[in-house]
Symmetry: C2
């Protein structure tokens, strides 16, 4: 029973916001949740609000909820909390990877130092959970604590398989689910909770849609790391350089001959030592030889169609169209 209004009272009635307004309201809510009098925390809050990113998670939960006729204000609150958890996870990730940049932006670690970034991440999380608790729904709390646990677990699994060429697709799938899919699945579960007042929210259509979307999002990123021409020119094969086996590489390793496998293994060791990919051209030639791009693209297309079908089944037309339009931009596989 996913398509009745909250508490069975029918339509929520509040106005549908445009995406820029959703982002604006989300930022306001984030700022409220993170307000405090410690200087460094003020800076950190401003950083989280201003660095912004695309706010995909808040947009996703807002329009998914509105497409199911839910109250906008609660969706904004939950979206802000998803974004805070996401930001905290990125901050702790930054410390760990000692990454110098994330998508061209200076990272938190570089701006604030490792020390402040760990504590800042803790502060974001606890401020978020404190606010969440005031919303008074223990099901919400279950979804968020499950998600935070899954995020740290997935990072640890990924670490355990760092530069492990034998990482199988099952393990990779677990990492994808924990690192990326989990917050989109959480968004879907939260929408289901709002509808059903609890129930088996992880088995809802919206949680399934969220999970598919999150998985797709990560697999598409992994695909682009090997096959997006524009990205390759700047910095290709980052996952190979960083010792992470993703779908393209896992498929390739299964397909290649023994001598080719040995060659890839040597490149892998070189990347581990140097942090650089030496034989980019050769790796891409093998990808082409075994038609890995086509294989990956086919899988992405079928995922994409399932997601679009899921979106099309949502009851409310206007938010459904916005969500399809907004996410079509992301869903479109850019490479030919």
């Amino acid at each position: 029973m996913l398509f009745v209004g909250r508490n069975g009272t029918g339509r929520s009635g509040d106005k549908l916001l445009t995406p820029p307004r959703v982002i604006q309201e989300t930022n306001k809510t984030i700022a409220t949740i993170l307000r405090g009098d410690v200087k460094i925390l003020k800076k950190l809050a401003a950083y989280v609000v201003s660095s912004g990113g695309k706010r995909i998670r808040p947009l996703f939960i807002y329009y998914l909820g509105k497409a199911n006729n839910l109250e906008g204000k609660e969706l904004i609150r939950l979206g802000a909390l998803l974004e805070i958890v996401h930001a905290a996870s990125l901050l702790h990730d930054d410390v760990i990877d000692r990454a110098d940049e994330r998508r061209g932006q200076p990272t938190g670690a570089k701006l604030f130092g490792n020390k402040q970034v760990v504590l800042g991440g803790d502060h974001l999380l606890s401020s978020g959970l404190q606010y969440l608790n005031t919303l008074g729904n223990p099901h919400y709390m279950a979804v968020f604590t499950d998600a935070i646990k899954a995020l740290s677990e997935a990072e640890l699994v990924q670490m355990q398989h760092h530069f492990d060429l034998k990482t199988d697709l099952k393990t990779h799938g677990r990492i994808v689910d924990g690192k990326t899919a989990v917050l989109f699945r959480a968004a879907g579960a939260l929408v289901a909770i709002l509808h059903q007042n609890g129930g088996d929210f992880y088995r809802s259509a919206t949680a399934a849609l969220g999970e598919s979307f999150g998985r797709y999002f990560q697999h598409r990123d992994d695909y682009l790391d090997y096959f997006d021409a524009q990205r390759l020119r700047k910095k290709g094969l980052q996952d190979f350089a960083n010792g992470i086996v993703t779908r393209p590489l896992a498929f390739l390793l299964k397909a290649v001959s023994r001598p080719e496998y040995a060659g890839l293994k040597a490149e892998w060791s070189h990347a581990q030592k140097s942090g650089q990919v030496r034989a980019e051209g050769e790796i891409l030639r093998l990808m082409q030889k075994y038609r890995i791009e086509e294989k990956c693209r086919e899988l992405l297309r079928s995922d994409e169609n399932r997601i679009l079908a899921g979106l099309a089944a949502l009851p409310e037309k206007e938010p459904r169209e916005i969500i399809s339009r907004e996410f079509q931009k992301i869903l479109a596989v850019r490479a030919a």
Copy 2:
């Protein structure tokens, strides 16, 4: 109304456990909460269980609760959760300070590496909160999220005042409250929640007692860093070396003459550069000259008397006596 049994049903009736049994049951509960299939997490859980420490927080909440006639099992659960939050905070602290050891034990960071320690801390926290949520009391959640937030905030305030000789007693008090007192205050608040089914639990007698105890505990540590002969032989004036202004130093700075202040300032700068205290003897001579030890000890004694009076007012005799006896060991100021 702090002295009636849970839900007004009178005495809880379950048997009073000895301190070693409380620790044993706490460790079992911690192991249950932290169980999982990720290899590194198993090691981390084993480390948290086995490194143990004195389990002061679980003992404190157990006997405080029993002295108020509460159910033992729930107290063990809450004590295990306090210990998990404490362990997570130490882990994140380890990363930050790059400390090589904590009280003679190898630190988590040294055993597991920074990377795993940040994520491991996150995992401890989220596992704890996930379990806490299943206990189904939103007041518990409020107390824990408040405490976690206060812990990270206090660490950040401390960082902000790192090697700041002008750190005043108010700021130092805030750090003490956030870093140490907060989890003892939480223990007292949780006991009050169990009694009152909510209410203004932070204003309860047990929360006040917990806070006094936690503050005392930290001030006593700060005192011993300057005035405990045994400790001084091993590694004295750690707080000075680490650029933290505690009560003894704050009192001294207020008391000294201008040239003496300049001398201390020079030593402070030297410690900042070298991480070493050069003029330990001279600093201690000034402490003696201005009778700082006596002043600190007087304050500790008056705190101690207040705590003992608070303990004496608890209704149940047997747990009250155990808590007094156990904590008398800690409460006793060792230095002459």
